[in-house]
């Protein structure tokens, strides 16, 4: 099989170039197996990220024939006798197939992806501890579980036309994960997050192209999360007009 791989050495190259490799492949290989074969047997200078090989770590996302794919989950047999592998679109390239995800990490931190609690009084904590601190029923879990399955592979950022156009857009995964905490029965930070969601370059920049959900390898459906987050931000805004904020 002919495999074309993007090569870029920031010390030598002005722009990325493509290098071709001709390799023997096996019927049960994934795309990642082909890259690893080249790295191990043909050209050890190739840089790429991978780890778990079972679609959990989210590190092996790349463009395969122009589409964002998790390469450990994508069978090589889905392609004919040639394949083109590039780094994830919409991210700066660090080297070869490795991209810089610092921008995403900054956006991710902005949505406070952790459980936010109001300061609790000692007597409330005693009552909480008696029934099991922050206990959660299966029905409460199912409300957000789907959105918590995100592995941060960032295929959604590569597919999103808004990210391509406005790099500062918060993007599907960060919003979906923020919304996941807004839906969590143990969390009390939804007002803070909704305020962030109403800021520039967040939920209302999404034009609902739905490409993020099309490419998501974990069926998180980030487009649904973003649009639910829009409604949550609007309801919170409307509440702010008619209800006192209680000093928040």
């Amino acid at each position: 099989m002919r495999v074309e791989i993007t090569r870029f050495d920031p010390d030598k190259d002005e722009v990325p170039k493509t290098q071709e490799y001709e390799i023997p492949v096996q019927a049960d290989w994934k795309v990642l197996d082909a890259i690893n074969y080249i790295k191990d047997e043909v050209d050890s200078s190739i840089s790429h990220r991978w780890s778990c090989r079972m679609a959990v770590c989210g590190s092996c996302g790349m463009m395969v024939n122009g589409e964002p794919k998790l390469t450990c989950k994508t069978p090589l047999s889905a392609y004919s006798d040639s394949i083109k592998i590039e780094p994830l679109a919409n991210f700066p390239i660090v080297r070869d197939l490795v991209v810089d995800i610092d921008g995403f990490m900054d956006k991710f931190r902005r949505v406070k992806p952790w459980i936010v609690r109001a300061k609790e009084r000692a007597e409330d904590m005693e009552a909480l501890n008696e029934k099991g601190t922050y206990s959660q029923s299966p029905a409460e879990l199912v409300v957000f579980k789907q959105f918590s399955m995100c592995i941060n592979c960032l295929l959604c950022y590569s597919a999103c036309p808004v990210v391509a156009n406005e790099p500062e857009f918060m993007g599907p995964a960060a919003i979906a994960l923020g919304h996941r905490y807004n839906l969590d029965s143990r969390d009390q930070g939804d007002r803070e997050r909704n305020r962030i969601f109403r800021g520039a370059g967040t939920v209302f920049s999404c034009s609902f192209a739905n490409e993020c959900s099309e490419v998501c390898p974990k069926n998180v459906d980030p487009a649904a999360a973003v649009n639910q987050a829009k409604l949550g931000a609007v309801i919170d805004w409307a509440k702010g007009l008619v209800l006192p904020r209680g000093g928040a």
Partner: protein, 119 residues
């Protein structure tokens, strides 16, 4: 202008969302009946004769439905065109373009309110 749009983004999105639903469902049904079913004789022409249509439209619910049909698709169109403008021009002129488009939607909505009030 960009800051003003950002401040009213929740309202704009609500009107856009409502326009999207109206445009997809009600307006399609409306065009189907008036544009196809009546001319093809599937629905008798006198079903929407002037007197009947006027009676239907001049009660409170009829007026509200008509206002929705007139105003909300304007907000849908304005928001879509603004998104299109961002796709082509980026954020640079978004404030001016968005402001102009929503102004058209506001004028159309006010016109719609006047029209249904004067029915």
């Amino acid at each position: 202008m960009k800051q003003l749009l950002l401040r009213f983004e929740p309202v704009i999105w609500l009107l856009f969302g409502a326009g999207l639903s109206i445009g997809t469902m009600l307006l399609t049904g409306f065009v189907l009946i008036v544009g196809l079913a009546i001319p093809l004789g599937v629905v008798p022409a006198d079903a929407l004769s002037y007197e009947r249509a006027h009676m239907l439209a001049s009660n409170v619910i009829g007026r509200l439905v008509l206002l929705g049909l007139i105003a909300l698709p304007l907000w849908k169109g304005a928001h879509h065109l603004r998104s299109l403008s961002i796709d082509f021009n980026g954020e640079a002129r978004d404030g001016a373009v968005g402001g102009l488009l929503y102004l058209v939607a506001i004028i159309g909505s006010v016109g719609g309110i006047l029209a249904v009030v004067r029915l």
